[in-house]
């Protein structure tokens, strides 16, 4: 227990490990490639040596004595028969080879140059710039040297053949030197080069004639100076490239001699990392806990990929040693060396380009060390940034309008699986016993209990009754989820904070999560098969935090635009529109029925008495019952009329999308900001239930007849279309005669296209207008379009009038065959029909060609959305990762983790978008707010004078507690 206390990390340092360090931390040397003996026991000094840790439960670790689970495992080591290169450092090795002398290993820079680069490095470090820029420049400078400034040795170029081979490239005298010289001395008549006699050559090169003859006969190899002289005289090249392979042991020797001061200039700390450590002589063997073997059903053991790889390494290592001791030829030794290098390379990274990946017997590439870390499913992104969790559930969602927006319907089988820990006290011991006695199968039951001595017992059908009697204060009971518990609910993609909100549980039958339809917008959920995740909270702090900060009602206002994101949608809006548009009258029964699902159980005074003497209530008055008593509001509404609310009474206007809708419904927004989230939640709940009652009262359905228009209108539409076609023909003719005048900045062709598009879109609009004339205001499609519930007048136009021009990439359809869209048309036909103009409406039906063009346009839309979501998802990921460490501090500044200031005041003004007036035209009406606050706060003028404090809104912890606090009125229930 003592090492569970949190500790601060002072610093982290990265560097190379010394071979001696590997040996020191090693629990054992590994020498055999075998894992288990015939009896199934791990072999000593084998890959599964018990000193490397335990994975089988019940066994004791031979190194630390702990049991599986608490022993983290211990490293072992393999003594490699020959040094091999570490693949992770190939680039750095290449740099060092190129930048240091092949003889004395010193950096190929004069002392002055070296000091200069060291100063540059220090400066870069201070300004936290990229050190690589300096070290790269240093290497570049060093490579320019032909000779070592210290020992004078000639430097050769280093070739790197990926992944782990290095060559020295030397220019040496070619073996065909005599032929080449003779050939050049012949001269070339065509190019006008004269013959050279040996005498002349001897003269030009100042070499003795006898020597020249010896060289020409091939019996004397010219020295370097002589070679250069001959090359100069005859203008030929007598060298060839000779590649000399550098073995890892050579490189290691080379690196060992690099002085510490020179390494510093290359950005390496010599105290911590020596370059020769990049060449491995000892290979650490990961503990067995990092590569557990799995016992299959048939009793066979299946080893981890890493173990397989280690077996390969040990086998080759042994063969290497045997062969070397037996004095095998150099060729065989080199082959084995390369094989050992290959195995060690793939042990660390099995996805190196140019190297065939090591494969499992089945042909699947092995998952080795770097594959465990890399990528989406790797250790970082897959196991550390995100992980699978307990106490979570996922299932399909479906709607339930009887729930409050704060609630979520949880299937009973989920509720019985997910538990909450209950600390039994004297006060809840009765409940605890009841839960336990219900057992794990009965609904508010329990799955486990924990005795005060820490022993955890499973509650079963058999022992539940006995166990229930034993439960006392001090026990812990893991009880099922029950109504009123708080859980976290989430739908992916979690693009904003409203994608994860806290809900109160309502346990229900069947298999789906149920949610109120008004929370669909923040989750962007629908019910076409969407699934959502639920997380049960496991401690009191989390539950309190979720309740106060994360509950749906606390998220009503979106920080994106500062207005409500939760509000009436779709049918709710149609329903409110029907209820308030013509201010219909209802008799007592009807009015009561409309309000039956709200808190209102007594009707107000009737709005009037009709001719037959029976009292009636208007839609306005029914709706006004839901409003706070002192609400005053005046604004221009959805359908362009003035909406007037005075003292909580709707006096004028139609209630629709802009009044109670999801994104910035004025009334919902105002109630949230003025009366608080709790009042707003009640309002939205009641608006949705009232609207559902209203829409059921009036009846609302849509059919094909609602989009059909009379014969006479149809012929008028046909006329407009014919007219438009004629006009397009005229345009084309004018174009062909060359009479069309181009618009400024456009070519003639573009002008024609634009004019045709204009003509056709006007034709579609005209057709739509004709169709619209024949629709009454009570047409369901018109109601939906006007109220903003769903659809637009354009959709209606397309259904009843004409679908109009189909477009791909914003142009008429121009693709398909050469010079035409389909083989049905003449080449270069520019007419409306040939380029995707759909004359028909959806009701009248499309012709096959129109249908095809329509599908083309439709497909583009689908592809666009698919591309957009993936592009924007990646963009968002990068943005979030870049900004994730920014935090608003208590002093109002925004800083990153190194305390660098990013904004001096959060968002320039230090305000939260959800706490600020969202009205574009009006600034914050401070006086109005102040008056309202003062009025409500103080009864007498003196008290008002004393005013300095503020009244905090009560923190509402539950649906049922809220109702009492929200308003003075006594309230029964939400449902």
């Amino acid at each position: 227990m003592q090492d569970t206390t949190p500790k601060d990390i002072g610093s982290l340092s990265f560097g190379l490990m010394e071979p001696e360090e590997y040996r020191e931390m090693s629990a054992t040397k590994i020498i055999t490639a075998d894992t288990y003996d015939d009896d199934g026991f791990p072999i000593d000094m084998g890959l599964m040596d018990p000193r490397l840790g335990v994975i089988d439960p019940g066994l004791e670790c031979k190194t630390c004595g702990k049991h599986s689970g608490s022993c983290n495992g211990h490293f072992g080591h393999i003594e490699l028969a020959a040094p091999v290169i570490h693949v992770g450092f190939t680039k750095l090795i290449r740099r060092l080879l190129r930048g240091t002398c092949r003889e004395c290993s010193k950096l190929l820079l004069t002392e002055d140059e070296r000091d200069e680069f060291r100063d540059q490095l220090d400066e870069s470090r201070k300004l936290s710039r990229d050190l690589n820029d300096v070290t790269k420049a240093a290497i570049r400078q060093a490579r320019k040297k032909d000779r070592c400034p210290f020992c004078g040795e000639i430097q050769y170029d280093i070739d790197h053949e990926k992944p782990t081979t290095y060559y020295e490239v030397q220019q040496v005298l070619t073996s065909e030197y005599s032929q080449r010289i003779a050939g050049a001395m012949q001269g070339d008549e065509e190019e006008g080069v004269e013959r050279t006699t040996p005498d002349e050559l001897a003269e030009q090169t100042e070499i003795e004639l006898t020597r020249v003859n010896e060289i020409l006969s091939g019996s004397f190899r010219p020295r370097e100076s002589q070679r250069k002289a001959i090359e100069k005289a005859l203008d030929i090249d007598l060298t060839e490239e000779d590649t000399n392979k550098l073995m890892p042991s050579d490189i290691r020797d080379w690196f060992e001699n690099i002085p510490d001061e020179d390494i510093e200039v290359l950005g390496i700390n010599p105290d911590r990392s020596r370059p020769e450590w990049m060449i491995l002589t000892v290979l650490p063997v990961p503990p067995v806990t990092a590569r557990p073997s799995i016992t299959l059903d048939n009793g066979q053991r299946s080893e981890d990929d890493l173990t397989h790889k280690l077996v390969d390494i040990i086998r080759i290592n042994q063969r290497f040693m045997e062969n070397r001791e037996a004095g095998a030829p150099q060729l065989i030794i080199e082959d084995l060396w390369e094989l050992l290098q290959y195995h060690v390379t793939t042990f660390m990274d099995n996805e190196i380009s140019g190297t065939p990946p090591a494969r499992h017997r089945s042909g699947r590439p092995l998952k080795t060390l770097s594959q465990r870390l890399k990528g989406k499913e790797g250790r970082f992104r897959g196991s550390l940034s995100g992980k699978r969790v307990n106490f979570s559930a996922r299932t399909v969602i479906s709607p339930d309008p009887t729930l409050s927006l704060n609630e979520v319907g949880v299937p009973d089988r989920v509720a019985k699986e997910m538990t909450q820990t209950m600390n039994v006290t004297e006060r809840n011991v009765e409940d605890a016993r009841r839960f336990v006695s219900n057992g794990p199968e009965g609904h508010p039951g329990a799955n486990y209990v924990r005795r005060p001595d820490g022993r955890r017992l499973k509650v079963t059908e058999k022992n539940c009754e006995q166990l229930a009697e034993k439960v006392e204060a001090g026990w812990e009971v893991n009880r099922h989820l029950i109504d009123g518990d708080i859980v976290i609910f989430n739908r992916q993609p979690s693009l904003h904070r409203m994608s994860i909100m806290a809900h109160e549980v309502v346990v229900m039958p069947y298999k789906t999560f149920r949610l109120n339809t008004v929370v669909c917008p923040p989750y962007n959920a629908d019910f076409d098969g969407d699934e959502m995740n639920m997380h049960a909270l496991q401690n009191e702090e989390a539950r309190a935090e979720a309740r106060v900060l994360m509950r749906v009602q606390e998220q009503m206002l979106s920080p994106r635009f500062g207005e409500n994101i939760i509000g009436a949608i779709q049918d709710h809006i149609s329903g409110m529109y029907l209820l308030t548009h013509d201010n219909p009258r209802f008799n007592e029964t009807q009015a009561l029925d409309l309000l039956r699902a709200t808190r209102i159980d007594e009707l107000p005074e009737p709005s009037g008495i009709d001719d037959e003497g029976t009292p009636f209530w208007t839609g306005y008055d029914v709706f006004s019952e839901l409003l706070p008593d002192d609400l005053d509001l005046e604004f221009t509404g959805t359908i362009g009329d003035e909406v007037v609310i005075e003292d909580g009474q709707l006096l004028q206007g139609t209630i629709a999308e802009d009044e109670v809708g999801e994104f910035g419904g004025e009334i919902v927004d105002t109630i949230t900001k003025v009366y608080g989230n709790t009042r707003a939640r009640i309002f939205v709940n009641e608006v949705s239930t009232l609207a559902m009652r209203a829409i059921m009262h009036f009846g609302f359905s849509i059919g094909i007849d609602d989009e059909t228009i009379p014969e006479e209108a149809q012929s008028r539409i046909d006329e407009t279309i014919v007219d438009a076609n004629d006009r397009v023909e005229e345009l084309i003719e004018a174009y062909e005669r060359g009479e069309l005048e181009s618009l400024p900045g456009r070519t003639i062709d573009e002008t024609l296209e634009m004019k045709i598009m204009q003509t056709l879109s006007r034709a579609r609009d005209n057709a739509g207008n004709i169709a619209d004339e024949h629709f009454q205001d009570d047409n369901p499609a018109v109601v939906m379009a006007n109220s903003g519930a769903r659809g637009s007048m354009l959709n209606l136009t397309q259904m009843a009038g004409a679908v109009g021009q189909q477009a791909v990439r914003g142009e008429r359809i121009n693709r398909g065959y050469e010079d035409r869209t389909l083989s049905h048309y003449e080449p270069n036909d520019l007419s409306a029909e040939a380029h995707g103009f759909v004359e028909n409406s959806y009701t009248s039906g499309l012709t096959p060609r129109e249908f095809f063009f329509h599908a083309m346009g439709g497909r583009e839309g689908l592809v666009d959305t698919a591309v957009r979501t993936s592009k924007s998802g990646y963009l968002q990921r990068r943005l979030i990762n870049a900004l994730s460490e920014l935090e608003t501090q208590y002093d109002g500044t925004v800083r990153d983790t190194s305390d660098t200031i990013v904004q001096f005041e959060f968002g320039e003004d230090g305000t939260s978008p959800v706490k600020v007036s969202s009205d574009e035209d009006n600034d914050i009406d401070v006086e109005h707010i102040a008056d309202r606050v003062l009025d409500s706060e103080f009864e007498s003028a003196e008290e008002r004078q004393e005013f300095l404090g503020s009244k905090p809104r009560p923190t509402n912890l539950s649906e049922h507690a809220d109702d009492r606090l929200a308003e003075g009125t006594e309230v029964t229930s939400d449902d």
């Binding site: 300004l127 002093d891 500044t893 660098t900 200031i901 001096f904 320039e908 003004d909 305000t911």
Partner: protein, 75 residues
């Protein structure tokens, strides 16, 4: 040549006096290196600004009329 610092969209940049700077650093409890940076060759800087100076920038803001930002001149 156009002098961008005279453009109406370029906010006012002034070099902060040493005393005022002390107050700012104290207010936010930071070193001057924790301030946002501005390059010496930024055309909006006044001519007398040197590396190491702190610049006070007064911007028009939609929400607060004026917002003040400080930046450290770097190379």
């Amino acid at each position: 040549m156009v002098d961008v610092s005279q453009h109406e969209l370029v906010p006012e940049h002034t070099v902060l006096e040493e005393e005022a700077l002390e107050d700012v650093l104290e207010e936010y409890n930071i070193d001057r290196t924790d301030l946002p940076k501005i390059k010496r060759n930024d055309p909006a800087l006044p001519d007398e600004a040197e590396i190491g100076d702190v610049i006070k920038i007064v911007r028009d803001s939609r929400t607060t009329d004026q917002s003040i930002v400080y930046r450290l001149v770097v190379e």
